[in-house]
């Protein structure tokens, strides 16, 4: 196919943002037009990516729809393409973005035009991350994503937004610098930053360890892994709802994607070497943050900490290097993308009405908002991994995978499913059940139609993939096989070499 469909998907949001930028005239019209443009471009993009999924050939392990443009001769090519892994992340991104836009339109009260631009630019950057097949391009998109997020927190955030924004920035910057150094080193070693070529190049094993650590620092911060997770609760608490949704649903997934694509693909020796280290951090993350989540008084913080625990499952799944583990961790990321987005939207719903995120402000909401209580229940169950929701498929596959690699890690991680039930159900009970004690909230209205449609679509997908995850697993199948095979031949090559 000659039509540059990937470029189109990446740049449609940016074009939408440009249109919004140049709208002028009567402020009311500007607002209305920019909303329409944002909704239209993000929805069109979603449809286009569905089409991409439809025409994508699931039986080929190579990258598809590859496009290449020379940028700096002999150094950087603008090269993009997708395989079965990245296409799912693209779908997640294009699905979540319209939801964020709808949510933003509902709750953002000032500078709505600028807000929409930030979201659309953000979408372009995130899509770029999942498509890029050149390390420098990847780096630009990956770090570029920081800027709109920084602005979203810093401008539309809560009272402590400046502290949070800077904390977010400091942490992620630390990782970025190291990754940049690693990328430059790779270019210096191999003479290319082309990912397709690099996947076939065997980087000398003695360099792999430091390079791996360079990438790891960056990904670990974004993931976030313990102990560099503390920026996440603060960022979530201060971010507006739409910002939290993007942050939890997509931004965190860029790191998981990075681990799979680069850490495993480029540095198998180091990945193998550092696996126990990753397992340890992930287990600490699962147990530690679950316990911390239990004691939170702020709904958003609780969900943020639970995200860290869920991401712990993702990292152990990835580094189990077993098919079930890898597929499980990708399903877990998709599922977490839907569930955490839904949970943050749920907090957003009551925050818009009463302007408090404190659990103690609420209680007995089921009496006045039964529809809300119902959808919240589904998301709570998905978050604690009840079978029949997408959360279960991901977690269970991860554990099945890890169990084959390391029984102790799997057993300890399984403890997380007990804690998850505890903190999620306790949260639900304190917010939703009981008598309506706070008289100020008794006039809160139940979900309006837009909210209802958003939640209904999320509920549908969470249940659908819980009962029938086959469409996702099908897409992943060949690419994951290929990944594991490459990893093993690459690893064996190095082992054979060092033995000689």
């Amino acid at each position: 196919m000659n039509f540059p469909i990937l470029s189109a998907i990446i740049f449609i949001p940016l074009i939408g943002a440009l249109f919004i930028l140049i709208t002028g005239g009567n402020p009311k019209n500007v607002e209305k037009n920019s909303k329409n443009v944002a909704i239209f471009s993000s929805l069109a993009n979603f449809l286009l990516s569905l089409f991409l999924w439809f025409v994508f050939d699931k039986n080929i392990s190579d990258f598809q729809f590859v496009e290449e443009k020379k940028w700096i001769d002999g150094f950087i090519n603008f090269q993009i393409g997708v395989d079965g892994i990245s296409i799912l992340f693209i779908l997640l991104t294009t699905f979540i973005t319209p939801i964020c836009i709808f949510s933003g339109i509902q709750s953002i009260k000032f500078k709505i035009k600028e807000f929409l631009i930030a979201i659309l630019v953000m979408e372009t950057l995130m899509l770029g991350v999942f498509c890029s097949l050149d390390l420098v391009i990847f780096y630009l998109f990956f770090e570029g994503g920081l800027i709109p997020m920084f602005l979203i927190i810093g401008i539309w955030g809560g009272p402590k937004r400046v502290y949070s924004a800077f904390k977010f920035f400091l942490f992620t910057l630390l990782g970025s610098v190291l990754m940049l150094v690693a990328i430059i080193t790779i270019y210096w070693l191999t003479g290319t930053t082309d990912v397709i070529k690099l996947l076939d190049t065997r980087i000398p094993s003695e360099y792999q360890y430091l390079l791996w650590l360079g990438f790891f620092t960056s990904f670990a911060v974004k993931m976030p892994m313990w102990p560099v997770h503390t920026w996440l609760p603060d960022a979530h608490v201060e971010a507006p709802t739409a910002g939290s949704v993007i942050l939890a649903a997509i931004l965190l997934k860029m790191a998981g994607y990075g681990f799979i694509r680069f850490s495993l693909g480029l540095f198998p020796v180091a990945s193998d070497y550092f696996t126990p280290f990753v397992f340890t951090l992930s287990i600490i993350a699962i147990i530690y943050t679950s316990l911390v989540a239990l004691m939170q008084e702020d709904m958003k913080k609780l969900i943020a900490y639970s995200s860290v625990a869920h991401m712990g499952f993702v990292t152990i799944g990835i580094f189990s290097l077993v098919k079930q583990g890898l597929e499980g961790s990708i399903i877990q990321m998709m599922s977490h993308g839907l569930v955490s987005a839904a949970l943050f939207l749920c907090v957003g719903v009551v925050y818009d009405r009463y302007h408090s995120r404190m659990i103690s402000s609420y209680g007995g909401i089921i009496n006045i908002m039964p529809k809300y209580a119902f959808v919240f229940m589904i998301f709570t169950l998905a978050a604690l991994g009840l079978p029949g929701t997408s959360g279960f498929v991901g977690e269970f596959l991860v554990l099945v995978g890890v169990f084959q690699k390391n029984i102790i890690v799997a057993v300890l991680a399984s403890l997380g499913i007990i804690f998850a039930a505890a903190y999620m159900l306790w949260l639900y009970r304190r917010v939703i059940f009981g008598r309506l004690t706070n008289s100020e909230i008794k006039d809160m209205k139940d979900l309006n139609n837009i909210e209802l449609y958003i939640f209904a679509s999320l509920v549908f997908l969470i249940l659908f993939f819980g009962f029938y995850p086959e469409p996702l697993l099908n897409t992943l199948d060949v690419s994951i096989n290929n990944l594991i095979e490459n990893y093993n031949t690459n690893l064996n090559f190095h082992i054979a070499k060092s033995n000689n």
């Binding site: 800077f166 904390k167 400091l170 942490f171 102990p227 560099v228 503390t230 920026w231 530690y288 316990l291 911390v292 989540a293 239990l294 004691m295 939170q296 077993v322 098919k323 079930q324 597929e327 499980g328 007995g364 089921i366 169950l381 009840l386 079978p387 029949g388 498929v393 269970f396 596959l397 554990l399 099945v400 169990f403 084959q404 029984i407 102790i408 799997a410 057993v411 399984s414 403890l415 499913i417 007990i418 039930a421 505890a422 159900l425 306790w426 009970r429 939703i432 059940f433 009981g434 008598r435 009962f467 029938y468 995850p469 086959e470 697993l473």
Partner: protein, 636 residues
């Protein structure tokens, strides 16, 4: 037809849950109850076919998860064991659906209640019709969810909410073990489908593995992990604490979920896995031991409780203990037979107590009842039938199943078998005492309620009595009618290959004295309890006064709740708080980002001091720098 059995309840749940208000509350209640009833009729038909023609089927619905060699399907699997469970679940569920129409008549959330009940039925049916461990796990957690929702049905009561969460989390602890069992099975068998797993089992009997640093026999470990799951769901000792609290839910829920069906899922699991357990003597002994302790423990606690539903809940716990030690001695078919009869009489007892509670306007304390047997003749009759059946009065259902367990324990002929036999007899005695205590305190003696006048006590509506009457019929007749089929000489004709028996029994026939013991004890206990609880209460009061600490020990349920609260709940909360305040805020943030920015600030503050503006400061620094440079060049 299999599809209809499983999916009609789901349909009913969706209709009354989402469209209940629109199509009318009454219609949706009738509709969902009828759908479950149809499912019940179909189950009976399947049961008949299995019994008559040896019907067997395994229908694939669709593929659930396939990742590499991990393949799991949604399916409907019918074999003799499943067909028995289908009958128990769908028949009792439909009776309780109809009963609920009467019981919940004053509740504002009738459609929601019906939706949950039907959803529960659906989940339970998927559990029993699974052909692999993962679908079983789906149903397992699904019934747990419905149990959670129904215990917390009256969401305005804080105690109900707490009980609901407790039930879910304690079950999760069990499920944690269950899940590890499934992982182990997949790791060593490469599949989680029953048939493939069971076929391969004989070849791995000797396999040993290192698990968490300790060497285990693989099969024993798998069985033990599965058993932990069963302990959680079936409220065996250590993981039993949620069941009494679960009585916070509406009474029909207690009857259906916490007596007849869900709590017996653990027994079902063990019987289903008989091809695994039969190869592991150790695992069977563990099961038997836990079962015995539970049977005795729960009966002892039931002796002194005052809440009518809690007494029956502990009684359930105790009867589940019987089923477990029946499994432990290898008498799987007897365990299932007891499960089958127990479902009828225990559900009956709950529905009967529901009638009583309804009559007393939601009073549950038996000390505040009494003397109303003439006012509530039908409820009284129901409760008497249930009690007779439970205690194992000759010719009623419980007699056949419970005595069979005691006899088979004896027949086993080894140490654990004799212990089980003794515990079975002692517990039967305790069972008789607490059951009759309940009856006499509730219906006889003085009327003790101050809130309600005795004249305001009325019999429950027919909508509640008629369904209960069906259960009463079951409690009387199912024992005698199905005895031959389930545990008779030719029981293998019926069970076919669904249960594996490897370990033979030592004796062939129980001695006559044993056969006579239990019925005599049970019969004698009626006049004795009548005397102790009604005629001469002083004797018991003296005993209590002399053994105050023992009495408190029993009254407080062996202090399990207090112990767990101290060890787990509070400790975990403290650790959580510590990690958050000291770990995240005081360590990571303090030395991480906050520390970094403080450092930068401090350094820049100090650097500012350098720029003092005095020429001699600058000159001095230059001089030092110059001399250092000079020294360097001279030396090197």
């Amino acid at each position: 037809m299999e599809y209809a059995i499983v999916f009609l309840p789901l349909l009913g749940s969706i209709i009354s849950g989402f469209f209940g208000k629109r199509i009318g509350i009454y219609l949706s209640q009738i509709l969902s109850s009828s759908l479950v009833l149809i499912s019940g009729f179909f189950s009976l038909f399947i049961f008949y076919q299995v019994f008559n023609e040896g019907y067997y089927s395994n229908k694939l619905i669709f593929n659930w998860i396939s990742s590499g060699n991990f393949n799991v399907n949604w399916s409907i699997y019918i074999d003799p064991l499943t067909s028995v469970m289908l009958v128990v679940v769908s028949i009792i569920s439909s009776i309780i659906h109809f009963y609920s129409i009467g019981y919940m008549s004053h509740d504002p959330h009738k459609t929601r209640f019906m939706a949950y009940l039907s959803l529960f039925t659906f989940a339970m049916l998927t559990l029993v019709t699974a052909d692999n461990f993962l679908q079983l796990f789906f149903g397992w957690e699904g019934v747990g969810l419905c149990s959670y929702l129904l215990i917390g049905f009256w969401y305005k009561k804080p105690s109900a909410n707490a009980a609901a969460i407790k039930a879910f989390i304690v079950n999760r602890v069990g499920d944690f073990g269950f899940a590890i069992g499934i992982f182990l099975i997949f790791l060593f068998y490469g599949t989680v489908n029953y048939n493939e797993v069971f076929q391969q089992t004989p070849s791995i009997v000797q396999k040993e593995i290192i698990f968490l640093g300790i060497q285990f026999n693989l099969l024993t470990l798998i069985c033990f992990m599965l058993f932990i799951g069963a302990m959680g769901k079936s409220a065996q000792i250590l993981l039993h604490t949620w069941l009494p609290d679960a009585m916070e839910g509406p009474t029909p829920v207690s009857a259906l979920i916490h007596a007849a069906t869900m709590v017996t899922a653990g027994v079902f699991l063990l019987v289903r896995c008989s091809p695994l357990f039969e190869y592991s003597e150790t695992a069977l002994n563990i099961v038997a031991t836990i079962g015995m302790i539970t049977a005795f423990f729960a009966a002892s606690v039931a002796l002194v409780q005052n809440d009518i539903k809690k007494i029956i809940a502990y009684s359930t716990c105790s009867q589940l203990g019987y089923m477990f030690f029946a499994v432990g001695i290898g008498a799987y078919h007897v365990a299932i037979f007891h499960l089958f009869t127990h479902a009828f009489f225990k559900a009956l007892l709950f529905l009967g107590s529901g009638c009583v509670i309804h009559a007393f306007k939601d009073e549950q304390d038996i000390r505040l009842m009494g003397g109303v047997w003439k006012k509530l003749p039908y409820s009284y009759a129901l409760m008497i039938i249930g009690t007779l059946a439970l205690t194992g009065f000759p010719l009623l259902s419980g007699y056949y199943s419970k005595d069979a367990i005691i006899e088979f324990a004896y027949l086993k002929g080894n140490t654990i078998g004799y212990y089980a036999c003794a515990v079975g007899i002692i517990t039967a005695l305790l069972t008789a005492f607490y059951s009759w205590r309940l009856i006499f305190k509730t219906f006889h003696g003085k009327y003790n309620n101050k809130k309600e006048n005795i004249s305001s006590i009325h019999e429950s509506p027919y909508m509640m009595l008629i369904p209960s009457a069906f259960l009463a019929a079951g409690a009387i007749f199912v024992g005698i009618s199905f005895k031959e089929m389930f545990i008779g000489e030719n029981n293998t004709d019926f069970w076919n290959n669904s249960i594996l028996f490897l370990n033979s029994f030592h004796h062939t026939y129980p001695p006559t004295w044993l056969v006579m013991t239990t019925p005599i004890i049970v019969t004698l206990s009626i006049p004795i309890s009548y005397y102790l609880f009604l005629i001469n209460e002083k004797i018991l009061k003296d005993i209590v006064a002399k053994n105050q600490s023992l009495y408190n020990f029993l009254l407080n349920k062996w202090y399990f709740d207090e112990f767990y609260n101290l060890i787990f709940v509070r400790t975990i909360k403290k650790i959580g708080l510590f990690l958050w305040k000291k770990g995240d805020i005081n360590t990571i943030d303090r030395f991480g980002p906050d520390g970094m920015s403080r450092l930068v600030k401090n350094i820049s503050n100090k650097v500012v001091n350098f720029q003092s503006g005095y020429l001699y400061h600058y000159a001095f620094v230059m001089l030092i720098g110059f001399s250092i440079l000079l020294t360097y060049f001279i030396l090197y």
